[in-house]
Symmetry: C2
Subunit: 550 residues, 2 copies
């Protein structure tokens, strides 16, 4: 798997374009006051970067070379820059401007768990810092070494640990190495008729180990579970040896050490392998589009759905602002498309009494055997109707499915045009959802007003649970003077609205350094004491990704 | 809620009897060589117990009296004996013989979270030990103070914290105090049309806080989830303040502190309150009985069911030995019953080719709306048939449902007759289940043979998951010379077979002191390091239930 761009999302040569989306330019002009035709910023050239020499003591280098083939020990400048950070908006802004952080001194690419053990031992012996690296897609600052770090910094890139080792078809479990990327795990399992079913937005650029270390969620987690539900056995190289948890379905063995690894962001050790739930590729998989008169109607429908006997794979409802964005993203509509769309709008307005400015698009996914899917579709269709919703067929779902992994590229597109765009996700109870939504939108718009910037905030419900749901916010604004400071204010306003309204600081993007300031408000002071106790006692030498989470 | 017997299960005056079960006496004679008519042992009288005076320094007593009304501070001898231990078989044997442990010096019954905070502060200040007490039904030794404990020991009985405080019907969540007993939480929720749905065997004698502290499972956990899935928000009084986790459905906030409290057995603090999933009392609830030709057929059916699109509330399959026991437990069969039973046996043998000695009884439960339950029953019926199974209607399920909470009393009944009976539960993957079962049965029978005792081991699958299931073993034998030593050998053989065959040391009965010796073999040495780190860092003064788990 090729490394990500050092300055942006995804691989070199791939990017977001408005040119095949005729409605997008006017939408962006309206939403954030940006003329998409006018690029105002570009990343500095790589040659312009000031890259300090690596500080790799001869003893440590020797120890690494004794265990890892030289090809897999890199002090290459590009490699060091790519491994220095993740892809938070703050990361992108700084990388583009050439403002580099404390770079790792060396990148090692172990080829086995034994290699990982030897690397960690060498690091502890040399009093070095170890930062595990999966796909490098963190948007929470989980990958950057502390600014003042004086010890050698080793980035351990797990990309060579990329195999599905074993499939236990009777138990629907697979033993998988931690460095495997999303498409590659699906490809290896798919060859045997199985799927893992974990599809975060970062799917193409993130790894199993990264998903585990951040408590990731995917687009079909309503069916497959969050990563925390899907991972059973774990192998983690720690300073006191290799932690091995058994792939048992449930256990009463004290506080769950398996759960402690989930979300640990490299603070407890290096995840090398996991035994994970897999499922047969379903007979049928459909995502249907629906329209609701308002966001409130859509949320109420999802709430009812969660309380029902029905089983679905995806629940998603966009608010009115995101619905407008979604429509503006349409690729090359044909004349027939345009006509249909026009007729639909007339029907919605005149026959169903929709206010088209309030209308919200929703996707509900179905998976399983033909009979099961057919029965669920019918039952959910009736439920949606009771909330004033209308099914608009499978085409919008197919389009959504196609473009879903392209969305992260849009941040680079906006940065080129002087605008900041980012996401913040949270979760709360069903009863608190609408109040939370209103508070966050008010907070974001308040921040835009305070800064006197042209901004836009939009949201979708992305996952449903028994007692609540995830709200996933996207916001963008045209920067005025200092994009970083302005971003800081908007992002903080949103995060503070989360914790002030009983919600969590993050549903699936981890803590890192970006969210650490809200952690105590979320999990309370004794919760922070417990995390510190766990980290300090497991890694007394503070070699493992210091400064993250707490 | 009245306290349990100091010497056995349940309340005084309630016990197990064979007299209304005509087939039981001959079954027990065959299985463990015991004549039920001949009692050979009885608990010593309470008056015979040697009860040392409580060691409660005046300063500590004063501090407690300043916060808790005198009525709720007890040094009563019976109270101290009842709170000294749980109900493991080893506990029962020792209590009956008058061999008391280090007794708690005082029992306090706080009436509020503020009371709990004050008690913990007083305890820390006086360098005392605090052991939280729920229903006292632990069978893992989680409640006993260390033998050599020289500090004052305070048992904190949460029975006064027994209220459902708030129902959030929109989110299907209830805020509930930790000291509430099973029947009382159902009663309070039932008044509003809700159920918690957690029904462990100990249901009548255990509390919400106890379920959380031990990672409990209930009989309908296939639908409602294990307690770990049902508990969202938590309030826990710790030495560094009150831990508060938000009742959000899912979060990515580092290693989950919520999960650290689950299974913590009082080592991290005193749980005062939880916000838990609730559900509407379902329109329909049915448990159907099925017969399978062999245990292997029954397991294979449950495995297929777990991989299907069907949703059920209970999956249970007894092995042939437990099936025999189950039939022997029938209460007063009428002439019609006997005739039906005879005809069924003829039908099974002659038409279906069952070997009646291998035949296994199974229960599958269905809950939800009428249509849902009907559809699931039909679909599961077809699945069962494919595995050679036969539905025998709802009557066995009704009987099973009635008697399920009486089973724990049988240990006292056997002890009166010189026989030891106990349970051990575990979980593993579907693929490993049959090998595990064979290994455990072989280990138990090997131990019986080694001891030259007349013994019996039986098993049921009690919970199904995506990738595996829980196997719940019951074993009994007639003691020869030293019941405790003989029990130790049998129990150890079974537990060792669990960990030697890739299974967990306990599925839902916690670690305590009973299972601590297998913990490292289960979660590996670094797992133990992590638990120690967590406990030592959270409770540096070692005031909280010392010596449990690790």
């Amino acid at each position: 798997m090729a490394a990500m761009k050092w300055w942006g999302w995804g691989e070199e040569g791939v990017g977001f374009s408005h040119e095949d989306k005729p409605d997008l330019a006017p939408f962006i002009a309206r939403a954030v006051g940006v003329d998409v035709g006018r690029k105002v910023s570009a990343p500095v050239r790589f040659g312009q970067l000031q890259i300090p020499d690596p500080q790799l003591p001869a003893g440590l280098r020797g120890a690494l070379e004794r265990v890892i083939t030289a090809t897999f020990i890199s002090t290459d400048p590009l490699d060091r820059v790519v491994h220095a950070r993740g892809k938070s908006l703050r990361d992108l802004i700084r990388q583009r401007s050439g403002e580099l952080p404390r770079l790792p001194d060396v990148i090692v690419r172990p080829g086995s768990e034994d290699d990982v053990i030897a690397v960690l031992q060498a690091a502890v012996h040399a009093d070095a810092v170890v930062i595990p690296f999966g796909g490098g897609s963190s948007i929470s600052g989980s990958l950057e070494a502390p600014a003042g770090e004086t010890r050698p910094v080793i980035s351990v890139d797990l990309e060579r640990l990329d195999k599905v080792l074993e499939i236990d078809s009777g138990s629907r479990l697979a033993r998988v190495q931690a460095g495997v990327f999303g498409p590659h795990i699906e490809q290896q399992l798919g060859a045997f008729g199985y799927t893992f079913g974990h599809f975060p937005d970062s799917f193409e650029h993130s790894t199993l180990g990264g998903w585990i270390a951040t408590r990731s969620s995917g687009m079909q987690s309503d069916r497959y579970g969050d990563i925390a539900d899907m991972v059973k056995g774990l192998r983690v190289v720690t300073p006191s040896g290799t932690l091995v948890t058994r792939p048992v379905p449930s256990a009463s063995t004290g506080p769950s050490v398996r759960e402690m690894v989930l979300g640990s962001e490299g603070r407890l050790g290096i995840i090398t392998e996991a035994t994970v739930h897999i499922r047969r590729i379903p007979e049928r998989r459909t995502i249907l589009g629906y329209l609701f008169p308002t966001f409130g109607d859509g949320l109420a429908a999802m709430q009812d759905l969660a309380a029902s006997d029905h089983a679905v794979s995806v629940t998603r409802v966009s608010d009115a602002n995101e619905t407008q964005f979604s429509f503006a993203m349409r690729v090359q509509p044909t004349l027939v498309d345009k006509l249909q769309s026009r007729l639909l709008r007339i029907f919605l307005r005149r026959r169903l009494g929709f206010d088209l400015n309030q209308m919200c698009i929703s996707f509900i996914g179905y998976e399983g055997g033909d009979r099961h899917v057919a029965a669920q579709r019918r039952a959910v269709g009736r439920l949606v109707k009771r909330h004033g919703g209308l099914c608009i067929g499978s085409r919008p779902g197919v389009l959504y499915d196609k473009k879903k992994f392209d969305i992260p590229y849009i941040r680079d597109f906006l940065l080129d045009r002087g605008a900041a765009g980012d996401v913040s996700d949270t979760a709360t109870t069903w009863s608190g959802l609408m109040r939370l939504y209103d508070a966050v939108v008010t907070a974001a718009n308040g921040a835009f007003a305070q800064l006197a910037v042209h901004g836009y905030v939009m949201c979708h419900l992305s996952h449903s649970y028994h007692a609540g749901a995830c709200l996933y916010f996207t916001f963008a604004f045209k920067a005025r003077t200092n994009m970083t400071a302005e971003y800081e204010l908007v992002k903080s306003a949103i995060q503070q609205a989360f914790v002030d309204n009983g919600a969590t600081l993050s549903h699936h993007h981890a803590v890192g350094t970006e969210h650490a300031q809200w952690l105590e408000q979320d999990i309370s002071a004794p919760g922070v004491v417990m995390l510190r106790a766990l980290f300090d006692g497991t890694d007394p030498g503070k070699h493992l990704n210091p400064g993250k989470i707490v």
